[in-house]
Point group: C2
Chain length 573, copies 2
Amino acid sequence: MAVRELFPCVEWLRQYDRKMLISDTIAAVIVTIMLIPQSLAYAMLAGLPPEMGLYASILPLVAYAAFGTSRTLAVGPVAVVSLLTAAAAGKVAQQGSPEYMMAAIVLALLSGMMLLLMGVLRLGMLANFLAHPVIAGFITASGIIIAVSQVRHILGIEAHGENLFDLLVSLYQHLGDANISTMVVGVGAVAFLFWVRSGLAPLLVRTGLNPEAAGMAAKAGPVLLVIVTTLAAYTLDLKGQGVALVGAVPRGLPDLTIPTFSLELWGELAGSALLLSVIGFVESVSVGHTLAAKRRQRIAPNQELIGLGASNVASAISGGMPVTGGFSRSVVNFDAGAVTPAAGVFTAVGIALVALLLTPLLFFLPKATLAATIIVAVLSLVDLAILKRAWNYSLSDFLAVAITIGVTLILGVELGVLCGVLASIGMHLYKTAKPHIAVVGQVPGTEHFRNVNRHEVITDPRILSLRVDESLYFANANYLEDRVYELLAQRRELEHVILQCTAVNEIDMSALESLEAINTRLREAGIQLHLSEVKGPVMDLLKCTDFLEHLSGEVYLSHYQAVKALSGDGETC
Amino acid sequence: MAVRELFPCVEWLRQYDRKMLISDTIAAVIVTIMLIPQSLAYAMLAGLPPEMGLYASILPLVAYAAFGTSRTLAVGPVAVVSLLTAAAAGKVAQQGSPEYMMAAIVLALLSGMMLLLMGVLRLGMLANFLAHPVIAGFITASGIIIAVSQVRHILGIEAHGENLFDLLVSLYQHLGDANISTMVVGVGAVAFLFWVRSGLAPLLVRTGLNPEAAGMAAKAGPVLLVIVTTLAAYTLDLKGQGVALVGAVPRGLPDLTIPTFSLELWGELAGSALLLSVIGFVESVSVGHTLAAKRRQRIAPNQELIGLGASNVASAISGGMPVTGGFSRSVVNFDAGAVTPAAGVFTAVGIALVALLLTPLLFFLPKATLAATIIVAVLSLVDLAILKRAWNYSLSDFLAVAITIGVTLILGVELGVLCGVLASIGMHLYKTAKPHIAVVGQVPGTEHFRNVNRHEVITDPRILSLRVDESLYFANANYLEDRVYELLAQRRELEHVILQCTAVNEIDMSALESLEAINTRLREAGIQLHLSEVKGPVMDLLKCTDFLEHLSGEVYLSHYQAVKALSGDGETC
């Protein structure tokens, strides 16, 4: 059992048959074709030499196949993680230097080790603290930054900056250096890729291909572009006309890499590695969940941490960059019919063959081509409509999105996520610190009590029924006290206060002290304090203390029973 | 009205009469006598010259009397704030240097301005995020550190350190330098003060004094000690025997001080000033609340921010140190019969007279005497039993106390509070991220539904009733999904899932997306999703979205109605 949990591959390997082999192989071929330009492009986006993108697409895929629980997730370099890698490595070294490359490798290693540790400690739930609006805002803002950062390759100029403003200023300043030949290749490539997205598949259908095959074939668009522009660069001597090319890519499989161990470097990169791990994990798990649900399968988030951790460690020791499960590639893998992670292993074999045989051909590949593939890919991530949807829903969700997008664009990706997470947690705490406390009355003819301001209900001037719509804990303990005292001041005939605790899921020590204070204060004013509908776990806690002995009133199972007993006070009961 | 809110003194000044004047004057005399050694001692604790303690006990008291809302709070230097001042100033300058003194003044100014700003923005509620266990743990640990830090004055040696470990090591290393005469004074002073606390009042009562007057007289113990040891130092030439004396204290009232404006220094001290503000505010407000409640008065926390802010600014511009409302001094003020903040003004006059006339007499005051008053005062703050009380209550409250005490002792005061606050918030979030989700059934003969594991209830195999004991928000949205799917897997006959939302005080966008996902998944499995007892504010939100249109089932006012309608499904209804 333990072996099967740690190596989910045992499960599917046992049942593996010829039919599965064929499905997986077909999917692997399609994903490999898609992955060649992507791995080169994302390495470029991260400021790394192209071979590091290829290396990150070999061993990590094998590691994920052994440890991951998603059947169809395609692991490798992805846009957002590459952007984070560039931001982190750029803080400790100059792009293009050996130190910069080593920083990326160390990031992969640290991130892998952190993911493994989180997996062992079953901390997958930590990712839940990234609220959906924060993720959506971050992906959108990252997409914008990535797209703008690649414009320089389309124009053939130098322009750098970690945030949108710096990037735009830098682009503007260098606009005069734009290279016409590069622009022809770059703009042409972007236009071609957009056309492939929208126009190619329908065209192929019209020529008689079935829609699914046409959709698949359209995925080969980027590779076709790579081939055509590479040939053009070779035959037309584009380099002589100032078009930047990928240049020499070492041939062969990656060597075993031993990442630098330096406490200083590790310390500097630890925060970024953690961020990168969590973001990569969240992105990967949400893709994994979506795809698994379509085939009634499930993924195990804590085991996914192990799978992604192993992938990143594998990437680091084979000279690669940080990786995670990518959305578009996984969808293609799924649609192409992958049924097991073996498809990932076959993809790894495909990329290994490319590294062994085809790297000399990459010499003439224009950088503008890669930039175009990145731009077209990330623009599909940009979803500014999330701002409107969040605005329509609630102010706090809107602020979470807006802060995340704003800070990411203005101050950079790392601060963007951090501020988004802190803002969403802060707003949640703020809301729970000022809980809704409703005065309730009985809905006539039922045993139910509802807000006096929203419903026609029956109340008794001697009884104040309060429903506290929040767990009672340190942040709102004083607020409860204040509200109760405020409500008392308006009621002269009062004899009983009943706190209806249906929504009180917790009472911590601070809140207990406040309840004691309320009880004392009410008793001094000749008013009894009662509780109703206290939940089991909360009641267990109260029983450990002497609060129930001090309590001037009673604890009732239902609010109805409480009101019945107390309103009949003077009479029979 | 606005004037009366900003200057609460207008209220009591109008009604001020002779009787109040007498009461306030008596209280002021007693507090002044108590404050003389305390102000000198806390200045020493903060590493500052003694006159700064006196200066901090003049203008700040007048400022608080004008702006504060507590009738009896005694503002001035206090132990914990002095310790925080030492920790913060020690980070930017060497103790004893002019820069160190200026750092303390800037701390008072920054802290005053922050408190004023928080008051204007009505941010008093921020203090609620300091949970009671964190405060209790912090005060206890600070008390221990302060007491141990003063042992060097009792022994007449040099020993420094910001945390308990460093302090103990340093004390141990210098133990050989201990000065016998100093030890006689110091140990004698500590013993005397302990005896004053426990033995003097009963003795005075036996001599015929009434218990209250005896208690009051005992408060003069420290001043008696100051007089006796000063005389001893003068007559016996204790300085010649190696006893450290306070030395020359400038005579006269403080000059107007203009605190340094340096962005760098302000930036370095801003974090500490914030911490100091919040801690001081919390300490002061809790004293204020307690005393006000005893006389059926109230304090306004947001106006208290203004009062304490003004006090600290006043302290800074008169060359003083950070101040706040102190516990023991306020209790003495209250017990001595102070009825209005005029008592504070009279105390300020008293201290001003001391500064004008008596400072030459302080030359021969042994530092060991001051150390003894500090040790005896802070040991009463140490309450290690809080660990046991929190342990008996809940693991999270215990961890909050233990982390605060542990980190404060081991890593210092600032990190101690920070870790305590972060730990308590983190644990609260962790708990809400894994909410209690109960399967409920009908309590026979009632309309109430309770946990099937705790009560004898009626259930229907076609209906799954789930009570979610938490607001649904980003941190627990995925958890809810997982739990629902898990529960589904065990039930084959299921036709309806009803979420009882009594405890759901919020549904944010992330949670709404999860509910949409649950709804879709259930519909695909032929199961309807219903909601019951959705609260008004939550329902308002849902109505803004298209969730209710997508919902496969209904929303019921009460869970009873839901079950009645759905279990009658196949029959009549």
